[in-house]
Symmetry: C2
Subunit: 494 residues, 2 copies
Amino acid sequence: MSRHWDEEVEVLVVGSGFAGMAAAIEARRAGATVLVLEKMASPGGNSVISDGSVAAAGSALQRRHGIEDSPDLMVRDMLRAGLELNHPALARLVADSSAAALKWTIDELGVRYQDRVLQFGGHSVPRTHATPGLSGAALFRPLLQRARDLGAEIRTGAFVEGLVRDPEGGVLGTRVRVGYTFPDAASGRPLTCRAARGVVVATGGFASDVAFRTVQDPRLTPAVASTNHPGATAEMLKELLRGGAAQVHLSWIQLGPWASPDEQGNGVGPTFATYVAFPFGIVVDPATGQRFVNELADRRTRVEALLGIGHPAVAIADTAGVALSGQRIAKCLRKGVVRSFDSLAELARAYGVSPAALERTVATYNEHVARGEDPELGKPILAGAPRLGSPPFLAMRVWPKIHYTMGGVQIDADAQVIDLDGRPIRGLFAAGEVTGGVHGACRLGSTSIMDCLVVGRIAGTRAAATANDRSGRGRVRPRTTPAKRRRNGSPAEG
Amino acid sequence: MSRHWDEEVEVLVVGSGFAGMAAAIEARRAGATVLVLEKMASPGGNSVISDGSVAAAGSALQRRHGIEDSPDLMVRDMLRAGLELNHPALARLVADSSAAALKWTIDELGVRYQDRVLQFGGHSVPRTHATPGLSGAALFRPLLQRARDLGAEIRTGAFVEGLVRDPEGGVLGTRVRVGYTFPDAASGRPLTCRAARGVVVATGGFASDVAFRTVQDPRLTPAVASTNHPGATAEMLKELLRGGAAQVHLSWIQLGPWASPDEQGNGVGPTFATYVAFPFGIVVDPATGQRFVNELADRRTRVEALLGIGHPAVAIADTAGVALSGQRIAKCLRKGVVRSFDSLAELARAYGVSPAALERTVATYNEHVARGEDPELGKPILAGAPRLGSPPFLAMRVWPKIHYTMGGVQIDADAQVIDLDGRPIRGLFAAGEVTGGVHGACRLGSTSIMDCLVVGRIAGTRAAATANDRSGRGRVRPRTTPAKRRRNGSPAEG
């Protein structure tokens, strides 16, 4: 094991999404030098392409809108969705800290939210705070800016190949390839980087890692796309597991039933599917022209139904549904993800559906709407829902995409990574999607970003605070390059 | 790493249940010296206390009883139960080899089966071959005897603390404590044992390991008992994971809804619950006196319902139900697990149920029986099912027990353990409950023993066959004690 370090810093953060940035900010505020290593060419990972929706219980905005909520209720919702596999202390940690973390983004970072609180599926009350335009970047940019202002260095194209451990398993630093180009393992040049206080792993989930995800669910081949960025792969998670970290819930992988196979990543289609077609339209199997699932069932039920028919379904709505949803779908149409047709027959032909079968399906559905209930599939008919019949008709192909990986390494409430025997691994912290336990078997919408903020901040704070203990116990070997304390967060190469 | 070995053998088998014995037999038949290390004081683990039920598709017994079956159908059943998370190649391996493995136990080991084929839940056809008296020992003893006859040494009180690896991660042997007393980690004395050809890990599941199982499901505290023997713990599984083995489905843990909290382990109660009370009686919540779940729902639904009420339920049947089931329940009564009452009122008082509420519940249930359907909870009313009303009445408390852990290390069809990057770990094989993937999210009854037999045999054969390759590649260091080839399977201490 090398005891010459090419670089030295106090807190090393691996990954530059919400969790990593929150950790970097708090570590700097605690006085530690901070280097953030990001393997991709730009920072932000999934965070910057997310919808920027933030669950918080007991916020000022909720109170202003007369919404009664509490961390207790949020925990209950998270555990119900998570099939009670959640680690209760972690779910509680996130819920208890959620209002304060939201306030922190407003007061400290200057993040702005819409003046309404959304109610996402599985939440008992409106609890989702939305950035303008539902933009992850609107939350990410202020985090990144604050981290930089505080003197954290954010280095992109820097891939952490492995952790450097002491003989007792504590983490001393990392082996890094700088000038790395994802996913070329041989690119860049290797160097070692000492983390005198601690390493915070915030590398996200593995939804884009076909080899790793198919071990858990063999159905998730490349034929099943992901809403994630291509770098959502498992290299660092595997390094943690090889190092004896306990894993939690790796086989629980969440797919979204709202996605279009006709665009990359999350795309624009989900807006049409979620806000227009599912509530005010229908989803049909093109092979039969018939509906096959309650369009407002929970995510897992809808995903299983789609996988069951074995090919993309067609989500269909009309002009009245768009109007009622209040959504703009111009971008969906411009990108060709949603298409417009003057008649149902024309729509049917475009998707290879039997026009006669589709006419029958729509007629039957309209009978359900008229009577206010769906005895066929149990879809709740919303008050004021219109009959399907106002051309132009709009259609989008839907097929599940892998959205989130609930599992990851085990952590405790101090964000310390836990080993297979239940003990914290010294010097090693983790936060965000690379961890497991917070969400159990199924994550609720908008809880992930709050998880990243809450646990990321804790990880940064704790990593910065653990230094003195350790050196006092002589864990840092004499041959280690003496710490070059740097106040501007830009460590020199050794 | 020690290069002096205290002992040397060609194939080292860790664990002495069905999978370990099958591996030992085949490794000996392939000409390798074999040592089986068992941490407990006696061999057999869960296997010897199991029900000895063996699923096989296309057996001679099935044909004699006119049952049409095929490996294809068995795979389909396994994948349906497993929520299609099963590794298809492994499920297929077990199903394809099942009839031949069953025949092997008859022709080679002299195992006897009842002259009927049972149909267990989730199987499309009768496929379960039952030893006389549904006794695991009736299958285990012939396996153990054959292994010994072939010259395999079975050493009990021998705990494998760790694997000894070469610098590339291949497995050279193990660190063992002999004279070990479970679970005292300091008992016995340490020695090293070289496995010149390979190590087969067949250490079973972790249903009795509270610390390990609660990481995956925090509800599975000591308040939830297990049908397993106390040694069903995760030490060796953790050692494999620390060594970089990939894990599959660790969070899928199967509970049985048929167990009594008034006896240890699997006990005698499941016979009454499964064959008498569930089909021909009712299960009530003592707090309300009402039924709360379809008594013939799938295992998972019933377990969730029991956990939902939060305390043991009462399974109730009568004399007519016992007669129809063809089961003898004398042992259940003798052990006090099932109790007999002259009236429902007396029964109700004994379990703290409101007598009036119970009378109402039974009256309503009897209306369902009379009309042949249960609109209340959807239980299928079996043809000829009797009304509840023939005293004496019989009752048993039911509460889930942890039964089987679907997850474990990843293996390929050669029973090689696979690492986190998808590569086989040289010299390391695994079989049985310590592996994951065969059963996916939910195992069907009687498929586990077949899994152990099929994959155990493969592991033993492959471990014995891989030796020459390795030494030819110079993987064994010069300092290694020269191999003491032994033909009687009883390695001397070095």
